[in-house]
């Protein structure tokens, strides 16, 4: 079933909300690919549709209010949007699993963490002893003293430890795709560094692909092989991380990069940073999108054509895609 090492291919995904007559198009024609074992980042500001895209991958968007208005999600060549409930249950947790932003709200406060990890193991893996496996998973994610910790409740743990538990649960069935939705945003920087280190070493060990959903371009530069920049429910630019971040072609990507305060590389760290530009205005509401290019009202390079018709996404020789009439 696998073709050219592609684990996941999303083609023109449309995840809409509300009524079919007057929908809110949170995700409107998003396409991307994930190869086996790589890290792909979806980056954008709040409301750009990155989390809805991520949730759609295992059909986790509740319906109503959400519905899939079009497109395909091919996991291993099979369309997730056409799967039966039974196939979906096999897919969720076993093939695709998730780590979310707030570990505190994702864990059930009334069950011990060991039980919650074992639940995932029992559901999908009949071949192993759940308790033993849970202990193994907990030590794999670097939780000290797993034999005792297995009896702890979520509130007895710090945020970083809770996130480790979430990762242990997500890895219970050695998924081939891990979707990490802002996995470190709620954590302090030193803990964030620990979790990132953990995720990247586990990724190598288990050879899984990771989709990293984030608003933090620094995190993308640190970890991702490929990056898809999203704006207003669309991909506006994509390509290899080095290319996109060092030579951005879309004015929005350029604007985002100019808006991120930098630490300064070694030789410029002692200089006073120059005034940053930022992007005027704010992200449009998905129910009130402009007609042409969705970024046109905030764009510095806007022309008449941008306001009339939305540009198609185009590719250059190096596989660097951009949705703009006048790429930089």
């Amino acid at each position: 079933m696998e073709r050219n090492g592609k684990l996941l291919r999303v083609e023109g995904l449309k995840t809409w909300f509300g009524s079919e007559k007057d929908p809110i198009k949170a995700v409107d024609g998003v396409s991307f690919e994930v190869d086996k074992g790589v890290t792909v980042a979806l980056v954008g500001e709040s409301g750009c549709g990155k989390s809805v895209t991520a949730m759609s991958l295992a059909r986790l968007i509740p319906s109503p209010p959400g519905f899939y208005a079009g497109g395909q999600i091919l996991f291993d060549g099979e369309d997730v949007l056409k799967m039966s409930d039974r196939c979906l249950n096999d897919l969720r947790g076993r093939e695709i699993s998730y780590v979310f932003q707030e570990p505190g709200t994702s864990l059930n406060p009334v069950y011990r963490v060991g039980y919650q990890i074992m639940e995932a193991v029992k559901l999908h893996r009949k071949d192993v002893d759940a308790r033993e496996e849970a202990i193994k998973l907990m030590s794999m994610v670097g939780l000290p003293d797993p034999e005792t910790r297995i009896r702890a409740y979520p509130h007895e743990m710090s945020g970083g430890m809770q996130q480790r538990v979430m990762i242990a649960m997500a890895l219970a069935c050695r998924p081939r795709l891990l979707v990490a939705d802002e996995p470190t945003t709620a954590l302090d920087v030193t803990i964030q560094a620990q979790i990132l280190e953990l995720l990247s070493s586990l990724q190598k060990e288990l050879k899984m692909a990771v989709i990293l959903i984030t608003h933090n371009l620094g995190l993308v530069a640190d970890t991702a092989h490929m990056v898809y920049v999203m704006y207003a429910g669309r991909v506006v630019e994509s390509g290899a991380t080095e290319n996109v971040l060092s030579k951005p072609a879309h004015p929005y990507t350029r604007g985002l990069l100019d808006a991120v305060p930098r630490l300064g590389v070694e030789d410029s760290a002692h200089e006073k940073p120059a005034r940053m530009k930022g992007i005027p205005g704010s992200v449009p509401h998905p129910a009130r999108l402009p007609i042409g290019c969705k970024f046109a009202p905030r764009c510095s390079k806007v022309q008449d054509v941008c306001r009339q018709q939305e540009p198609e996404i185009k590719c250059d020789a190096k596989g660097h895609y951009v949705r703009c009439y006048f790429p930089l």
């Binding site: 500001e45 640190d222 930098r262």
Partner: protein, 326 residues
């Protein structure tokens, strides 16, 4: 005379554990610093380090256990009656969540006017609405917005409103507690630039409390780094990022994901320092240097002796046994 002078400030709370036993939580444990007029002073650290508590102690929202806070030479813990009101005019706060700090049932104009009314700064309805219009314009909003309610605004606009409210009393010191961490990147810069411009125009001073080192670097003249209720390093912004002299600052700087650093690490390999373990609770008593259980440069002496304050260069100090030696 410094605008704000804090000496050996201690703020302790009583914490109760699961079995009901009480212990002392030392949120701020002997902090001293000065803030000069016209300065933007940054206070950084991870959650629980006590940075917000310092801000709260300055405005009197938490009781001070020990130490002194002087504003314009006056001890603020001793202020009573009218002078308290005057102090509150001169020191204003900007909070992290602008929605939580605006009354949802009051129009923007009414909310800002109330401040003016309470402090009897502007008398007469027309004068007040003129002042509101002026304030809204100063923060980059239109005067007509005065009739609208908080829910009608985006996050960035709400933070502008929070700033307008803080400016209403013509303060000389503004405590900004994580003013941009709830905002999107593209909006964050707009607010930071606005704060910078206002500081120059109105001759303000800021105590800028944040966890994001890059934001603090962009904003501040001088930076204090806090860990477990204590200041571990203090330096001019340019100096701190060029030559950190405390292992904690060093680790923080290396742990922050940064675009330039990330792209560089692709060709040259990552030099990230990953600290072990979590930040200890402020109820724990750690012998020696409070940072030693997590420190990547730890030596035998660190667990035995409390490190002295060491001057590294003019205006740059670090509380580490090995300051300046790495």
């Amino acid at each position: 005379m410094a605008l704000l002078e804090i000496k050996n400030l201690k703020v302790f709370f009583e914490a109760r554990n699961q079995s009901g036993k009480t212990s002392e939580l030392r949120a701020v444990d002997g902090v001293s610093f000065e803030l000069e007029k016209g300065e933007i002073l940054g206070l950084v650290g991870e959650s629980g380090c006590g940075k917000t508590t310092i801000g709260n102690a300055i405005v009197g929202m938490v009781p001070v256990t020990e130490g002194s806070i002087r504003f314009e030479g006056q001890e603020i813990t001793a202020l009573r009656g009218k002078s308290v009101k005057l102090f509150r005019q001169k020191v204003q706060m900007i909070f992290q969540d602008p929605f939580g700090s605006l009354n949802p049932r009051m129009s923007i104009g009414a909310g800002i006017s109330e401040v003016l009314k309470v402090h009897k700064l502007v008398s007469g309805k027309n004068e007040r609405s003129a002042r509101v219009a002026e304030l809204l314009k100063a923060v980059g909003l239109e005067a007509e917005y005065a009739a609208r309610y908080p829910h009608e605004f985006s996050g960035g606009q709400r933070q502008r409103l929070g700033i307008a409210r803080a400016l209403a009393l013509k303060p000389s010191l503004i405590l900004a507690d994580e003013p941009v961490s709830a905002l999107d990147v593209s909006v964050q810069v707009q607010i930071l630039n606005l704060l910078k411009d206002l500081q120059k125009e109105m001759d303000l001073s800021y105590l800028f409390i944040a966890h994001d080192l890059a934001v603090v670097r962009y904003m501040c003249d001088r930076i204090l780094v806090m860990y477990l209720g204590k200041i571990v390093e203090s330096a001019a912004a340019t100096e701190l990022f060029g030559k950190p002299a405390h292992p904690y600052t060093e680790a923080l700087l290396s742990a922050v994901p940064d675009v330039d650093k990330g792209l560089k690490s692709r060709t040259q390999g990552s030099k990230r320092i990953v600290l072990k373990g979590d930040v200890p609770s402020a109820t724990e008593r750690i012998p020696g240097c409070p940072f030693h259980p997590r420190c990547h440069r730890v030596q035998a002496i660190c667990s035995k002796e409390v490190p002295p304050v060491k001057d590294c260069s003019k205006g740059h100090f670090s509380v580490c046994h090995f300051a300046g030696k790495f």
